[in-house]
């Protein structure tokens, strides 16, 4: 199983490597959305600092929405998804390789860029650290719920608008937890309980969502 996972992961990364700079598009999109907000709100330091965390989270959601529809689409089109489903062994190596490669290519670059963007919004170092912490705990949940949405809308027409409709309501708890964490930290209040909730949510999502994903992908193929 582990060997299969390694092979699949290598395969995925190789495909993305050959596609060249495709991974850059969501990253640049993320950057652009974030830098649009000062124009829309105001360039006043206090306003920007207050809304920085929210803006960064929303921009991350939108950039995920850009790239998520492609998650299983190409595999469905060239038939390899059907092959993986037909094989008697578990679908889990495929799912985990897919998700991990996606995280490496699309989410981690965004996370690496975040401290720089936060500086543009005059966030203090402590808040940036907390923001990054919540992003690290929250983005696996975003990815897992997003992949669930991608699997659900796999056979649908015009799937990207539909994907937003499916996953955004489910993102609300993560947004609430993460952003309140940042707000509390700015007021020097304890945030341990919130981080624990977020981590617990993350663990439950990692444990349960792949199971649902497996069944839904099988429906999508047959």
């Amino acid at each position: 199983m582990l060997k299969q996972f390694k092979i699949l992961l290598e395969h995925e990364l190789k495909i993305h490597y050959r596609h060249g700079a495709e991974w850059l598009t969501p990253l640049v999109f993320y950057w652009l959305v974030v830098s649009l907000f000062p124009f829309a709100l105001s360039s006043t330091q206090s306003i920007l600092r207050q809304s920085a965390a929210g803006i960064i989270w929303i921009a991350l959601l939108l950039s995920l929405l850009m790239s998520l529809p492609r998650l299983f689409q190409s595999d469905l089109k060239d038939g390899s998804l059907a092959q993986y489903c037909l094989r008697t062994s578990s679908l889990m190596p495929y799912i985990s390789a897919k998700l991990l490669s996606y995280a490496v290519l699309y989410i981690i670059p965004c996370l690496l860029l975040t401290p720089l963007l936060a500086l543009l919004f005059y966030l203090p170092a402590h808040s940036i650290f907390i923001l990054l912490l919540t992003l690290c705990l929250g983005s696996p949940i975003l990815l897992l719920i997003g992949s669930l949405g991608a699997a659900l809308t796999l056979k649908a027409r015009e799937s990207s608008a539909l994907l937003a409709l499916v996953i955004f309501p489910l993102y609300i708890p993560v947004l609430i937890l993460a952003l309140n964490c940042v707000n509390l930290a700015e007021q020097n209040l304890p945030i341990g309980a919130l981080l624990a909730y977020l981590a617990a949510y993350c663990c439950v999502a990692i444990a349960l969502i792949p199971l649902a994903l497996k069944s839904i992908l099988k429906i999508g193929v047959t």
């Binding site: 659900l152 056979k155 649908a156 539909l162 499916v166 309501p169 429906i219 999508g220 047959t222």
Partner: protein, 245 residues
């Protein structure tokens, strides 16, 4: 028990059962609705705090209850259709979605019509209101996904999964919003008095029953039509069609 299962598994029996009982349903609906409206609007005393404005309760609470109740029914039938592959459960699930969405819409509209005179705004980001709004989005997502998939087999399975995933998330969303809200603005106005006078309560109960009956009536109407379409090649359907013309 055996008779009951026969009613729900054999389409013809199910059709007969529904058509036999639907006049009674309609009668009971009109009766409870009439009593609820007349007693609620004319005879129930005005509330000592909210005056006559409280009368919106007679449409608001039933639609909010039904909005949640129908989602529960959808999830139950989704589970049944995934596990036992009963066609009838799938039909009930798919028919319930637009009806539930319209009840949720009603709960939102009547809620904001109630909120304007009582709180002074059409909308506050109160935990309950926000949860109902998200419930409305869940209904819409369910309907949109169903509409966008053309293969009927996959559509029913995917829709069932969507209902279940939404149902699991409802309490998570509700508690997170509740928690978020208490952090921001403290306790909101409590609208409901803990004790409610019988002359106010009976019309409310009657309206709740009327709303539930209306859901059942709509469900039966559409179920009948869909059963006929599903069994369109069977002899008994042809007979019924001859009777109708």
């Amino acid at each position: 028990m055996q008779r009951l299962t026969r009613y729900f598994l054999v389409p013809q029996q199910c059709y007969r059962f529904i058509t036999d009982w639907s006049p009674w349903l309609t009668g009971a609906f009109l009766l409870t609705l009439g009593y609820g409206l007349i007693a609620g609007l004319c005879f129930a005393p005005a509330d000592y705090q909210q005056g006559d404005g409280f009368r919106i309760i007679y449409v608001h609470v039933p639609s909010a209850l039904l909005a949640m109740g129908i989602y529960t029914i959808m999830t139950t039938t989704a589970l049944i259709s995934l596990v036992f592959r009963i066609k009838l459960a799938t039909l009930v699930m798919q028919i319930s979605a637009p009806i539930g969405a319209s009840f949720t819409f009603l709960a939102l509209i009547t809620g904001s019509l109630w909120g304007k005179p009582m709180w002074g705004t059409w909308w506050i980001w109160d935990a309950r209101l926000t949860s109902v709004l998200i419930l409305f989005f869940l209904y819409l997502a369910f309907i949109a996904v169903r509409a966008a998939i053309s293969d009927p087999w996959a559509r029913d399975r995917i829709a069932a999964w969507m209902a279940i995933i939404g149902f699991i998330n409802i309490p998570i969303i509700h508690y997170s919003v509740l928690w978020w809200n208490t952090l921001h603005q403290g306790a909101t106005l409590t609208v409901f008095n803990p004790s409610i006078a019988p002359s106010m309560l009976y019309p409310l109960l009657s309206m709740i029953i009327a709303f539930a009956l209306f859901y059942l009536i709509l469900l039966c109407q559409r179920l009948c039509a869909d059963i006929l379409y599903q069994e369109r090649k069977a002899a008994w359907v042809q007979e019924i069609l001859h009777e109708l013309t």
